[in-house]
Point group: C2
Chain length 263, copies 2
């Protein structure tokens, strides 16, 4: 479906290896056979086999004996529910996000940074009745999304260095930043205005206006954006959302602080 996945660094211990395999199953985005995994893997047959077996035992993968296919396991969904409920910004932010979405009449995205990637923890679209949750958990690159850049503009310099390493700078569109330098050039502007734009950098025809969310000690913990299509709003007109967006981001930050949000 899409391009180069920046891959996690060190695989410490067996657990790391198992997760690496789990990721590689996830990357296929469909049920996958042993052999397919094998040729894609650095591990020898026997090792991979045992790793898969462990994952299946643990219900992190499921294995259909009839077809020999491996697919993702339901235990992940259970675990993620716990993560979403009490470690993501989403439940705290929910009411504010709803309000913003209703007012704006466009999609609102709530994102956090995970390992140099943007991960969407909530998405709401005022119009569609049902659309939503197919999207939660989706990831996107940080360097070419509004929410991503909004967060990068404010993270600690040493963390920024690490995160920059993890960016692929794959040129999704004409407007995509192609290098760390190019991206770094934009960050001061973002800091000045407190707002980041996605100028069709990730997907042709999609633009967004994003704001960072801060916790009381000054750290960024997430970002919020209003995204829309160039069919309905051009870039300049996106600023109509600016004030609402900033005030919502602020409210979420306050709420998170009073909840002792981890970060």
């Amino acid at each position: 479906m899409n391009s180069p996945l920046p891959h996690t660094g060190k695989a410490d211990g067996t657990v790391g290896k198992a997760l690496e395999v789990l990721d590689s199953v996830a990357a296929f985005e469909r049920p996958v056979k042993f052999t397919e995994l094998l040729e894609q893997s650095t591990y020898p047959k026997a090792t991979l086999y045992r790793l898969l077996q462990t994952l299946v035992n643990q219900n992190l993968l499921s294995h259909d004996p009839e077809t020999g296919n491996y697919s993702m396991g339901l235990r992940l969904i259970r675990l993620a529910h716990a993560a979403w409920e009490n470690a993501s910004l989403a439940p705290i932010a929910r009411p504010f996000v709803e309000e913003l979405a209703a007012g704006a009449g466009e999609s609102v995205h709530l994102a956090q940074l995970d390992n140099g990637q943007v991960i969407f923890v909530d998405k709401l679209k005022a119009t569609d009745r049902f659309e939503t949750l197919a999207q939660v958990g989706k990831v996107a690159p940080a360097y070419c999304t509004g929410v991503g850049k909004a967060m990068l503009a404010y993270i600690a310099p040493k963390r920024l260095d690490i995160v920059l390493q993890q960016q692929s700078f794959f040129p999704y569109t004409q407007a995509t930043h192609r290098s760390a330098e190019s991206l770094l050039g934009e960050l001061p502007t973002i800091r000045e205005s407190g707002i980041a734009f996605d100028r069709e950098e990730h997907e042709e025809g999609i633009v967004s206006i994003a704001a960072p969310i801060f916790i009381s000690n000054g750290r960024v913990i997430g970002a919020l954006s209003v995204a829309t299509s160039t069919m309905r709003y051009d870039l300049d007109r996106l600023t109509v959302f600016r004030d609402e967006l900033l005030s919502t981001a602020d409210k979420i930050g306050r709420q998170a602080s009073s909840w002792h949000f981890p970060g």
Copy 2:
């Protein structure tokens, strides 16, 4: 928040142990300190410490150095997205579920069986605009929910034995089955009608009518229910949903079969 969690059997290898720890963090449903985990754990201090460290490295947990709290990691959400997208029934069933929800004007739940527990992979409520996804990933006992019993009625006898072991038979309400025998007594009735009822067995005031979903080889892969409150429908009147429910379950099953759904 609720009662006894039936706990996974064997912890094979390091991966199993790590996941056990991960589960125990999840069970707290809030950020948790090292010590709290320690007293709850069977592992010695040093071991638990290293296990936690590994999980944090792997982004399955996050650790706030200021407060010393551990909480669930965002990587789980990313992984779960993959699981939800291509290993759960939800994306396949979505359109049918929407239709049913719209027609019924009540909540529709789509569930699968994981390790003897019911896990909700989708929930829709026709009325609320936003409610939904806080619920996806939630688990419930199989022995006292409509969807759970609908599935139990059709799984292979040897698998049923295992699953029965995993039930706690905790008496949530007056109507809850208190033993395997009691539960087994109901299953033939379910098989005759192709429909299972939740008669306020899990929660006072909540009732549901549920139907199993079969794949072409005859195996149950999930269940679908319409749930409502006794304020609006009493048990008998729930049967108004029967035909729609059965036909939707059937459509989902067909669709899943043609997609070579794992199971």
